[in-house]
Symmetry: C2
Subunit: 191 residues, 2 copies
């Protein structure tokens, strides 16, 4: 649980007893690369903490095209937030992009913990604020930056995990075709 508690202790301090309250509600699972943790139409019942490896969240549009919405490398949380908070079927697919160990906290256990441990609500309030900032920045970037600048922004944001993500996956995130991204990178590398 060390990675998880290091993550939480960025924003709140937990006693041993409080850590124990959380530990009891965490389920750890390991997955191989390309396993699906969640599919469109599923009800997302858990927040996933990535202990090791990397996950991605994506949608598939009516033409069958995948669109990467978020990557979650080691130390990040991921969920289909819409489905998680409404208990309605979601749109998101969540898949491992590498072998991964993931810790699951169910929404019902999370809500129980919010009552037992109000400061955990603080942790998730701050986490959600950060996610909101990051999503808002992406909306701004998509509306106002060129594909070249969006690619640059992506490389900065996900600097630590670029070797785990294919160009095809990056293209799907920044909203261009893989061929376009490939030509763009080739142009940039010309002397």
């Amino acid at each position: 649980m060390e990675a998880l508690f290091n993550n939480i202790s960025r924003y709140i301090q937990l006693t041993d007893e409080e850590q124990e309250l959380i530990s009891r509600r965490i389920v750890e699972k390991t997955f191989r690369r390309k396993q699906l943790l969640l599919q469109e139409g599923d009800i997302c019942k858990h927040s996933y903490f990535v202990k090791s490896g990397c996950l991605r969240g994506y949608t598939i549009d009516k033409d069958g095209t995948e669109h990467n919405i978020v990557f979650a490398p080691q130390g990040w949380w991921i969920a289909d937030m819409y489905s998680l908070i409404t208990a309605q079927p979601g749109q998101l697919f969540i898949e491992t992009t590498s072998n991964a160990t993931v810790q699951l906290l169910s929404r019902s256990d999370q809500e129980e913990l919010f009552i037992l441990l109000p400061k955990l609500e603080r942790f998730f309030r701050i986490l959600t604020e950060n996610a909101l900032v990051s999503n808002q920045q992406r909306i701004i970037d998509n509306l106002s930056l060129s594909a070249q600048d969006r690619y640059q922004r992506f490389c900065e944001r996900y600097a630590g995990i670029l070797e785990h993500i294919s160009q095809k996956q990056i293209a799907s995130y920044i909203g261009v075709t893989p061929e376009f991204l490939s030509r763009m990178i080739a142009r940039k590398e010309e002397p």
Copy 2:
């Protein structure tokens, strides 16, 4: 304060004393149409609750083009979340699109209230989760929907305030030129 407390009571119940704790920290201001509450480069120090009227949050890119990021009609909250939580200069302009009455809660007062009234942290945690869902949906829509479908989504989402928002403002939100949107609507209305 009735509108504000009705808003808060969607998620948490407040006693008279708790309402009083909040009231003391709220500053109410009235604005005429097209007044700027926040500009790019400012540090956003408040969350704004829209008691009446409508606000919009937008950015201006390096070519001088405005991009609408969010509209906040009556009963909604708005802030430059990045700037608010980091206390760094933000990117967002926040402007009234009609005469408006706005209630301001400073971040420092908000954080004080989180300690005095932990359940207020619950309220803002839920509010932030909802905003995150809405932002994520917009990212999905931008990546996977046609301009026509994005316009449709906008009309559903902001059904109550369409008469207060010009076609030009809507075009800037869905990421097309005003001319394109105008042609699209005209085509749609053909018999």
